[in-house]
Amino acid sequence: MSIASRTSQRTRRSSFVERTLVDINHTLEQSLFAEQTARQPGLLQGLDARLKIIALLMLLLAVSLSHSLWIIVALYFLTLGMAFFSKVPLGFFVKRVWLFIPFFTGIIALPALFITPGPVLVHLPPGVVITANGVQTALFLLLRVGTSVSFGVLLILTTPWNSVLKALGVLRLPAVIILMLGMTYRYIHLLLNITSDMFLSRKSRLLRPLTGVENRQLIGATSGALLSKSLQVSSEVYLAMQSRGFRDYPRTIDTFEMHPVDWAAGLIVTLIALAAIWLGR
């Protein structure tokens, strides 16, 4: 092994602290950006959150049920149109979905090109063949995943998280679960910040890259400290809730109101979903 590759391997291995830090910042950034686009005026931002949740489920089902690739492609273009009219930056929207999916799902789908039996489409040099059915099944997987993820991303980019949570009540989720979902989301941010601080402080005191054993010790200690802190914060949160008059069950003020626009949008989405299911059967 050359010296260069050995050094690169060592830096790569030691940089897990940095990588985790980058991931954490990326997550925080992502949620901030989503809250930002969700609050600007646009097509989807103006609709009732409950309607959007139900529409999301209907459209996901349509994508999932379709036996036709064209219907899935059409539904994907629908997400692009909706993103455009909701002033979601299209480049960002497309990149967020398609930067990773070809990588993960694409590579999982790749062998299917060769091993799915069917009429041969392409002969590759060493006796390997790509079958038509293989291409079809790989495309099904890729397009389905890409379109489904696009619909989900669109909901989050156009709806503030608190509205999503409140709207989940339509799915008959118990109020206590919705309360916990909200608190979890809030405390994910706190814990991410705490973790980021812990890693940064460790990193600022490092003089040399950590060895594998030291890295693992660091992970154990950081996770353990984080768990202890979580347990401690939870009892503090409980005291805070009590002091603000929380009794044994959450009550929410429902401020949702369906406007004529919402009913119209609901009707259109229902028709689209039904048409997609019918045509793609």
Binding site: L57, I108, P117, V145, S148, I188, L190, L231, V233, D248
Partner: protein, 376 residues
């Protein structure tokens, strides 16, 4: 099946060995990321069945929360869910220069018991699916079953078996945590592989093109199980064991959480009915024995079978009634599978699950009525 094998053979012979090794390593790592199943891998029918399977565990968690536990546990579960979410972001370096992350389901189960762990991990998964597009929304039932039910319950059972009645500082607790984490995630991977693997058998176009996950059980289960057993499960084991060891040094009460009277529950459903559960499990495992027995059960002959057994005529009433109802899994076989043995085993599993769910829902209905009248 044989056609697939033939194609696979020609593929293996034609591909350069180095490329295959490289792809193999890559695929192993990739399959470890497949634990968060995205939408598109599973058919809607599978997704709905998985929701139905996981529902009793959620109801059990909510009920436990309402009846046995104080409001104190609301922030506790929220914080544990947040912890599980953050833990999934810790990149643990593994030999070879790459990284993997733990799920934290085993750890939550060890600290809080499996029922609460189910709630905490499910909540983390819901937020991941809705907010970060990590794992599908329709696939939430499957993801919650694998990571929020199988992982915590299996890990907890093993941790308990190894470290029950041991002092908080015992080494056996660390070993139990590691073994629990490893086994829990590997078993969860097996179920994920199973969910993938039944897709091409059950859902394909008229010309046989798979509509969802394309690999049969013979590929998907080994791929998922080996990938996890080698990469992801050791990471889950490592993180669980390291944290338990850390808590032994710094925060021993945390390891006693599950036993504290205000949080501890009376013997859990699993413990109370343990013998029954074990008998049921043994019986399911023994199901394939039925394949060895020739013929059908005595006296359970259908009209057609009666004639083939040499009976001159079929009683009129029987002939009339036999066409009345045609079962979805006639003869414990799924024709779509084209494999009667597999169909038989699957029928057994599906049947047990359906019966279990009906019984469970019935119990829920009865007990829920009772608890509704209780003042809060």
């Amino acid at each position: 099946m044989s056609k697939i094998k033939a194609t696979l053979n020609s593929l293996i012979q034609g591909t350069p060995r180095s490329l295959m090794i490289y792809y193999g390593i890559f695929a192993v790592w990739l399959f470890t990321t497949a634990m968060h199943i995205p939408d598109g891998y599973l058919s809607p029918v599978t997704s709905i069945i998985m929701f139905i399977i996981v529902l009793p565990f959620w109801i059990m968690g909510v009920r436990k929360l309402r009846e046995k536990m104080t409001a104190k546990n609301v922030p506790l579960i929220a914080l544990l869910a947040a912890f599980s979410f953050v833990l999934m972001m810790f990149n643990v370096p593994i030999p070879g220069g790459t990284t993997a992350h733990a799920v934290g389901g085993a750890l939550c189960a060890i600290i809080m018991g499996p029922e609460i762990a189910t709630m905490a991990v499910s909540i983390a998964l819901v937020i991941q699916a809705f907010f970060f597009g990590d794992g599908g929304i329709l696939a939430l039932g499957a993801n919650c079953f694998n990571m929020a039910v199988v992982l915590p319950y299996v890990s907890y059972a093993i941790y308990q078996a190894i470290s029950k009645n041991q002092p908080t500082t015992s080494k056996r607790r660390i070993i139990g945590a590691a073994l629990g984490g490893w086994t829990g995630l590997t078993v969860a991977a097996f179920f994920a592989g199973f969910e993938f693997g039944i897709q091409p058998l059950l859902f394909h176009t008229a010309n046989g093109t798979p509509l969802y996950a394309p690999y049969p059980l013979s590929v998907s289960i080994p791929a998922m199980v080996f990938a996890h057993a080698l990469v992801a499960s050791p990471v889950e084991a490592l993180v669980t064991a390291l944290v338990v060891a850390y808590l032994q040094r710094t925060n021993q009460p945390a390891l006693e959480f599950v036993k504290k009277p205000e949080i501890a529950t009376e013997s859990s459903g699993f413990a109370k009915w343990r013998v029954l559960w074990i008998v049921l499990a043994v019986m399911i495992v023994l199901v394939p024995l039925g394949l060895l027995a020739p013929g059908t059960a005595w006296g359970e002959w259908g009209a057609q079978e009666l004639t083939s057994r040499g009976l001159a005529f079929v009683p009129q009433g029987m002939a009339k009634l036999s066409g009345l109802w045609s079962a979805p899994m006639s003869g414990y076989d799924l024709p779509a599978l084209k494999n009667s043995n597999l169909g038989y085993i699957l029928s057994g599993i599906v049947g047990t699950i359906v019966i279990g769910i009906v019984a469970w829902l019935f119990t829920m209905l009865v007990t829920m009525r009772k608890s509704e009248t209780k003042p809060r």
